[in-house]
Amino acid sequence: MAEPLAAAGNAGAAPAPELLTTADGRPLRAALAKAQTRARRRAFLLVVPLLVFVLLTFLVPIGYMLQRSFQHDGFSSAAPALDAWFAANPKFDPANPPEEAYAALVDDLKRMQGDRTTGIAGTRINYTVPGTVSLFKSGARDAETLTPPFKQGLVATNPRWAEPKIWLAMAAASHNTTPEFYYVAADYKLTDNGWERGAPNERIYLYLFAKTFLVSGIITFICLILAFPVAHLLATLPMSRASLLMILVLLPFWTSLLVRTSAWIALLQEQGVVNNMLVKIGLVADGNRLAMMYNMTGTIVAMTHVLLPFMILPLYSVMRTIPVSYTRAARSLGATSWTTFRRVYLPQTLPGIAAGSLLVFILAVGYYITPALVGGADGQLISNLISFHMAKSNWSLAAALAGMLLVAILVLYWIYDKLIGIDRLKLG
């Protein structure tokens, strides 16, 4: 044999290496570390600006936002007397709170009226029990004139003050930290008996999560089917023509997202180009035009177009490295072109498929503008709901939903790492 496997044979027999020292007697390891420290420090200085930038503009805001998802002091800071009473009586009966609790409540309502914090406190309770802002506002006005016994007096002004869920909500809101926003985001409702799962037709958030993941999956699949031949063409064409085609692929990147989306509206709307053409050639009756815009179809079509380059580029970068001799070898060994593709070419493109799919899927899950513009009522995704809650300044619920989305994506990423290995990820 020309090449004996030398390395494998000697490794076991080699004696344990003695501690080496440099010529002047220092341990070799320490000398090496010292020699490298300077270079490492210089390298670190080079990345400092980016590190600071990422920290300030990315990690800190995200951390702050996520903090909002489980921290809210709107009620606890406005109602110190109740805070103290709830702290002293953690196991009170929400169905029948004692007189001292009502006394603390009235005390706090009076303070809120003076501090003008009724709105903030009411909104905080309103997050878990809808329709309580007005209850707090009128309660704070009435509290001025109330005399003991406060329980009877307050309930007389509005019977809702006796509802157990109001008391449960106030007890939870007396802590700064609360998982309640996550309960709401997971479609749980605060009832008089505590947190309960909402009726199936009321589970909008989980339904929307499922729908978002399903639609993202569909978009990822369509992107893969469309991108694979294009990437292959790009990888096999001569360089000059490949770069021309690459420009066409990248063209969407250089066009404003709004312009691109508007172009789809012009194409797909009821009086749009596609429908007009279909009517003209008689495939579709004029009164029965296809609804391809402002529904899920519109969202899928427009998002597939926007995200396609993110699939093509990783695929292309992987395919470019597969020499033509592999497929030729397979053909010369007797494989048909289909077998060659299935058994030789496709397996080698897997890292690209995985990278592109992961990228497109993650981008699709968080997509906002396109569904907002072309989705109509039916084509909205979870991001649209997050933005809706932010606009309604229920930041905590928006943050809780976004937090769940983040966790879901991290889980996907983890699965990807387990199955394929993140080091095999090739992007562009």
């Binding site: 090449e3 053909r331 010369s332 060994l333 007797g334 494989a335």
Partner: protein, 370 residues
Amino acid sequence: MTAAATAANDAAFVEFDHVQKSYDGVSLVVKDLNLKIGKGEFLTMLGPSGSGKTTCLMMLAGFETATHGEIRLDGRNINDVPPHKRGIGMVFQNYALFPHMSVGENLAFPLEVRGMGKDEREAKIKRALDMVQMGQFANRRPAQLSGGQQQRIALARALVFDPKLVLMDEPLGALDKQLREHMQFEIKHLHESLGITVVYVTHDQGEALTMSDRIAVFNDGRIQQLASPADLYERPENSFVAQFIGENNKLPGTIEKLEGDKALVRLATGEMIDATAVNIREKGQQTLVSIRPERVEFKPSMMPPGAHTIDAEVTEVIYMGDILRAVLRVAGSNGFVMKMRNTLGQTRLSPGQTIKIGWDPLDARALDPM
């Protein structure tokens, strides 16, 4: 060697019949190729890059289509037969072992696509791996093997399905010199023991000379000469072959006298030398006389009687171990090389010395001036 060469003339196993190939419709990469390869022959296509040799191989394998002409395998026209139905084994320069399959799976691939049963498959894989002495490597991945080992596996994969014809496209190009020479020997040995027909493409003339029954020297889309290694080296038919194969001294001159294949050539400085006319037609024609450095003599006792000698001035002597290489100034031009065996009794020349050199007229070949 001679048996194979005669077989080529009787029943050609592979035949290129007036084959032409153009990629751009403007120029021809292969110009009117006619070549017959006998069964069991080891034929090498040798030439500089861009000479059309690889294109010919790819046409034979089915990856390129001939623009004109016919390619026949075992008497059957294979122009329209797709590559996977040709049953030709092929070894690629970069080995082309499938990286996502183990060595065993790589070898099983051609057998699986032929629908062979598991037992038969394993027997064949074992036989093929043993053939290249890689029996214990079946479970390795190609990436875990060295270049030489990958080359052996590629060879085994091309042979495992018992093809009658094996094509090799510069298979040893990526190996270091020592390993390359070792593999040349092994491939040659496999060829002899299996009785397969091999078409081998290389630009390395040493490789071609060592391994081949016959060599087709390609240049500019044409076969310049098709001959056995010894004929090619000793009797080149034109200046291109003379210069491409081995080292050669060129002396430009004019034909002074022509009798049959005996020519008398007058060099630019007026000296006369004897030469064998090869592709020379008439007196007065310009010619390029080519002489191998190892056939040049400077001791009168070693020269054939009556041979013309000419003066030469030693400009440089290079010590190369097994040989001594003298660079001479002959007939007014520098760079004439003479090789001498490094023996104990060898005369040591020194720069500045003037000697008389000569050679057997059979070794001086008067060729076209290019």
